[in-house]
């Protein structure tokens, strides 16, 4: 059994708006393994993004505890969380979140300039197959290309974990597969622990481990004996 990278105990998140309380997480106990590609599945509103945000240090839990290796995320100050995100985590978002006024290369440099041991921006873009699009602005790229720039940006710092919230959500099947291939290759070649949230059940076939979410809790965890290649996934 490989080393644990994320662990949580009774993780709970409550949103209070006015006098209504929304339970986004209701006591999540979970373990994720280093080097694995995990897929998170579950209905809309079940708390997937909330969990990912807490694991990525973007948000705080209301109750319970979570660890990244030996570091307790739920005990960190804002400053420590910022350093944690800077040094260990790469994010990929559903809507890419590229800076419109920066080129592909510059969007990646946004990370490499502040990271400890980054790879050159051009190298990161080459890993997602975009070495010929270095100086294009986001508006000059297709959706799939934009998402791959976002992946290059996330991996350029050589993060230990790559957290992706619906990375193919805005893409058609062909470009979606290109993105998944990039994720899969990074997981394989760099050994980056990768968590992918998706609504596309087909994607679970490429995961080492699949976590099923419902109503703020983990319903089921399944390990795949054999994994499909992204190209084989049906949309």
């Amino acid at each position: 059994m490989s080393e644990l990278i994320f662990r949580s105990e009774g993780l709970t998140k409550v949103y209070r708006t006015g006098d209504v309380s929304v339970y986004a997480l209701r006591g999540v106990d979970m373990r994720l393994h280093a080097g694995e590609l995990t897929v998170l599945l579950g209905p809309s509103g079940s708390g997937k993004s909330t969990l990912l945000n807490i694991l990525g240090g973007l948000d705080r839990a209301s109750e319970g505890r979570a660890w990244f290796r030996d570091h307790e995320l739920t005990a960190m100050t804002d400053r420590e969380l910022t350093a944690y995100r800077r040094d260990h985590v790469g994010f990929v978002f559903q809507f890419y979140n590229l800076v419109a006024s920066l080129t592909a290369r510059e969007n990646v440099e946004l990370v490499t300039e502040i990271a400890r041991a980054p790879m050159p921006a051009a190298e990161a873009l080459a890993m997602v197959g975009l070495d010929h699009r270095l100086d294009h602005f986001p508006a000059q790229l297709s959706g799939g290309e934009q998402q791959r720039v976002a992946i290059a940006r996330a991996i350029a710092k050589r993060p230990e974990v790559l957290l992706c919230d619906e990375p193919t959500g805005a893409l058609d099947s062909k470009t979606g597969i290109q993105v998944l291939e990039a994720l899969e290759r990074i997981n394989r070649d760099l050994g980056t622990t990768t968590v992918v949230i998706t609504h596309n059940a087909g994607i679970q076939a490429m995961a080492h481990r699949v976590v099923f979410f419902a109503d703020g809790r983990i319903n089921e965890v399944r390990e795949n004996a054999t994994r499909a290649r992204p190209a084989e996934i049906t949309w």
Partner: protein, 787 residues
């Protein structure tokens, strides 16, 4: 360069018009600071150095004829460090190439050595030789205006003796930086100059051997003018002392101080307005940018950028905007300062370049500019910093609208939907709307305070030259003469009417308040020179009463009916108590007026004249001028018809410059506010407006929603602006008002209308520029982009 900085520059380039609009408003504040502080400091430094180096005296007094022996007693007065006596007199000059007589003030130079006080700075040639009787050194301005160089000659009537004088050199003096001839209202270097001659020659000419009629003092470190002045007055009293005064009442110094006061006021009042408006614009634009850049802010935080880095990014943006403004303000300010310095050299006689760029004024203005931008940015920056990284990932919720009073009113008034949208837009950002109104109102106010000036000056010209001083010329006599001179004057060629007037230097007192002043005594039936009240009706003193100008009455805190004390500084130096019979509206000087016959009665002597006012036939002017040059007892002439034109011309030129500057400034503010407002609304409402277009609204209808709000705000700003403009102009009148002159407060409806027209036109143009963007709105693209 850091990628974020590259982003910053690209963002700035994309928003260049908005950035420039803000930077220009900021530049106005910076410019005025550079200009006012720079010129003020330069002037102060120049003045201080000049006074110091050329030993400008601190206390001055004239006398009729005081024996030289008195000097040792004056020197012995406590607080006196240096005392020097001189002979000073008025002369009529006959200058080559000038038909009318000119006047001069002759000032003696000591027999041995150079003056201990009020040392002339010799520019060309040399001072006259101590024993020469026909050599003279003149002021530079006088020489230049008349094309004189050393060696040239002119003729002068020295106390009735006509003499040809040879110019030996030109000079400047700290005592005569601002030179006004007797009775003149503006410097006229062609017709009035300062002449330095050896003491011996003047003593002979004015029958003052072994005597002096002028004394200047410098004080010890702890000597105080207020203590020395009464002591000096006491010593000079038996010798016709004309009342000692300090620098605060020295004519040239007072004018420069007045200028300095105005510069200080300029630096204090206007820049804060511009900085406030720029801070508001930065605030408004940055708020919008932070909203639009939520995703980027969230991204930066997710990537591990610290709060300081996020704050720094937006602060840099604001700082860059301010740097552009500062650069523009610096260059325009320096350029204007040069121009202003040039203007000063026209009115003031300084020995060296007045304006040197002041590191201080640049530093202060830059600090103010950067601080302004920072202040405006703070709110937006704090919002960016406070955004939790996770929330920054989700798109912003649509702004919440509430049904409020506006809606109920609008429903009741059955406004159309587009009009409702306009009103709701204002209701949604009431703070922003209120400040936009204030900023636009400030432009209206600035324009009003510029355009009220010409009206005010028209009123001055009308009152001073056409109601009060209607004489064509003043013949200034060398001393008080018997009334027969009036008869003589009537017989001069070309003189149509002549009226006597007497000047009596006096101190007027009421309680602890006092003013040194020349009381004017006239005949009650005088029509050439008289004073009028606020309504333009002539005011004549009743019996033994005295008429005071409004300002003098204010300074002495008296109203008609009160009694004041008048201590004469000539003759037997009597002290009289008089009733104030009325007040008059006078714009130049602090006037006090009496009946000449009553004055004579009070002084128990026959009526006298020190000036004869004449109306003349201009066709016979040449003959009159020739006669005047040879009339003994004449100290000078003031040609009022020339003063009138000179005054109007100088004023017209300066007003044109000021008005242009003010219009530019007001347009910049209006465009800055309206254009940025429109761009921000367009950005906020692009989707809304595009949706309306898609469901079939026309461009005009959609533009109406956007421009409607702006134009509505501009209209609402007008009455606010009128009120502000009224207050601005009033404050200006108050700040301009000094013992030397005052401005009438004249507000015509044209002033209101002109200001409003310019501002409404400027905001309409700004709105139209943005309207072009609505016309080009790419409907598909707008609907596709995620807010």
């Amino acid at each position: 360069m850091h990628v974020l900085d590259r982003k910053l520059l690209r963002d700035l380039r994309r928003m260049w018009a908005q950035v420039l609009a803000i930077a220009l408003v900021l530049a106005c504040g910076v410019m005025i600071l550079v200009l006012a502080i720079g010129v003020q400091r330069s002037l102060e430094d120049t003045l201080e150095a000049y006074y110091e180096r050329n030993r400008f005296a601190e206390v001055f007094s004239g006398a009729k004829r005081a024996p030289d022996m008195l000097l040792s007693e004056i020197r012995a007065l406590p607080g006196v460090r240096v005392a020097e006596t001189r002979i000073v007199g008025q002369v009529v000059l006959d200058l080559p190439g000038l038909e009318e007589p000119a006047a001069g003030r002759v000032v003696s130079l000591p027999d041995v050595d150079v003056p201990a006080l009020n040392l002339p700075l010799v520019l060309t040639g040399r001072p006259p030789a101590p024993d020469a009787v026909d050599e003279v050194m003149v002021t530079r301005a006088f020489a230049e205006a008349n094309g004189f160089v050393p060696g040239d000659r002119f003729s002068a009537n020295l106390n009735g003796r006509k003499r040809t004088l040879t110019i030996t050199g030109t000079a400047l003096s700290p005592e005569y930086i601002y030179v006004l001839g007797p009775g003149a209202m503006l410097p006229d270097n062609r017709r009035f100059g300062i002449l330095w001659m050896p003491r011996r020659a003047l003593a002979a000419a004015f029958d003052l051997q072994g005597a002096f009629n002028d004394v200047s003092l410098a004080l010890t470190r702890d000597g105080r003018a207020e203590e020395v002045i009464p002591a000096l007055d006491q010593l000079l009293a038996p010798y016709g002392g004309a009342g000692a005064y300090g620098r605060a009442e020295q004519a040239s110094h007072v004018f420069i101080e007045g200028e300095l006061t105005q510069l200080r006021a300029l630096a204090r009042i206007l820049p804060p307005i511009f900085f406030l408006i720029s801070a508001f614009l930065v605030n408004m634009v940055l708020a919008r940018i932070v909203t639009l850049e939520r995703g980027v802010i969230g991204l930066m935080k997710a990537l591990g950028y610290s709060d300081a880095a996020v704050a720094g990014h937006f602060l840099k943006l604001a700082t860059l905007v301010s740097l552009i403004g500062i650069a523009i303000g610096w260059s325009v300010g320096s350029w204007l300062a040069q121009g202003m310095a040039k203007l000063y050299t026209e009115f003031f006689e300084f020995p060296y370049l007045v304006f040197q760029p002041r590191a201080g004024s640049y530093a202060i203005s830059a600090a103010a500019g950067v601080a302004t931008a920072g202040l405006g940015a703070i709110q937006g920056v704090m919002r960016a910093v406070r955004m939790p990284p996770a929330v920054a990932m989700v798109p912003p919720a649509p702004p919440s609208f509430k049904r409020g009073a506006v809606d109920r009113m609008a429903t009741w008034a059955r406004f159309s939907q587009p009009s409702m949208m306009v009103l709701r837009g204002i209701g949604r950002w009431p703070g922003r709307a209120a400040f936009s109104i204030l900023a636009i109102a400030a432009s209206v106010a600035i324009l009003m305070s510029a355009s009220f000036f010409p009206d005010s000056l028209d009123e001055i010209i009308d009152t001073s030259f056409f109601r009060q001083n209607r004489q064509d010329a003043m013949l200034i006599l060398t001393g008080d003469r018997a009334d027969s001179v009036v008869e003589d004057a009537r017989h001069l060629p070309g003189v149509l009417a002549a009226e006597p007037m007497q000047y009596l230097p006096a101190v007027l007192r009421h309680g602890h308040l006092s003013r040194r002043i020349a009381v004017e005594a006239r005949d009650p039936d005088a029509t050439l020179s008289r004073v009028t009240d606020a309504a333009g009706r002539p005011v004549t003193p009743a019996g033994d009463g005295i008429v005071l100008s409004d300002r003098l009455a204010e300074r002495l805190d008296v109203v008609p009916g009160d009694r004041i004390e008048m201590q004469l500084l000539t003759g037997r130096r009597e002290t009289l108590t008089l009733p104030v019979s009325a007040t008059a509206t006078v714009y130049f000087g602090l006037g006090a007026y009496m009946d000449r016959a009553a004055m004579a009665r009070l002084l128990r002597q026959p009526p006298q004249a020190s000036v004869v006012n004449v109306a003349m036939d201009r066709d016979k002017a040449r003959a009159l001028y020739a006669a005047a040059k040879d009339t003994p007892g004449l100290a000078g002439t003031v040609l009022l018809f020339q003063t009138r034109t000179a005054f109007s011309e100088t004023i017209a030129r300066n007003i044109l410059n000021t008005t242009v500057v003010y219009i530019v400034i007001a347009v910049l503010i209006t465009v800055g506010v309206t254009y940025n407002g429109a761009r921000i609304q367009l950005s906020e409402r692009a989707r809304e407006l595009a949706s309306l277009r898609i469901i079939g609204f026309t461009r005009a209808e959609v533009s109406y929603i956007l421009m409607g709000e702006l134009m509505l705000l501009s209209f609402l700003a007008q009455p606010v602006g009128w009120a502000m403009g009224w207050a601005f102009a009033y404050a200006q009148v108050k700040s301009f008002s000094s013992d030397l002159y005052t401005l009438p407060f004249v507000m015509t409806s044209a002033t209101y209308a002109k200001a409003s027209l310019v501002v409404l036109a400027a905001s309409a143009v700004a709105a139209l520029i943005v309207r072009r963007r609505i016309d080009r709105l790419d409907l598909v693209a707008v609907m596709k982009t995620r807010e």
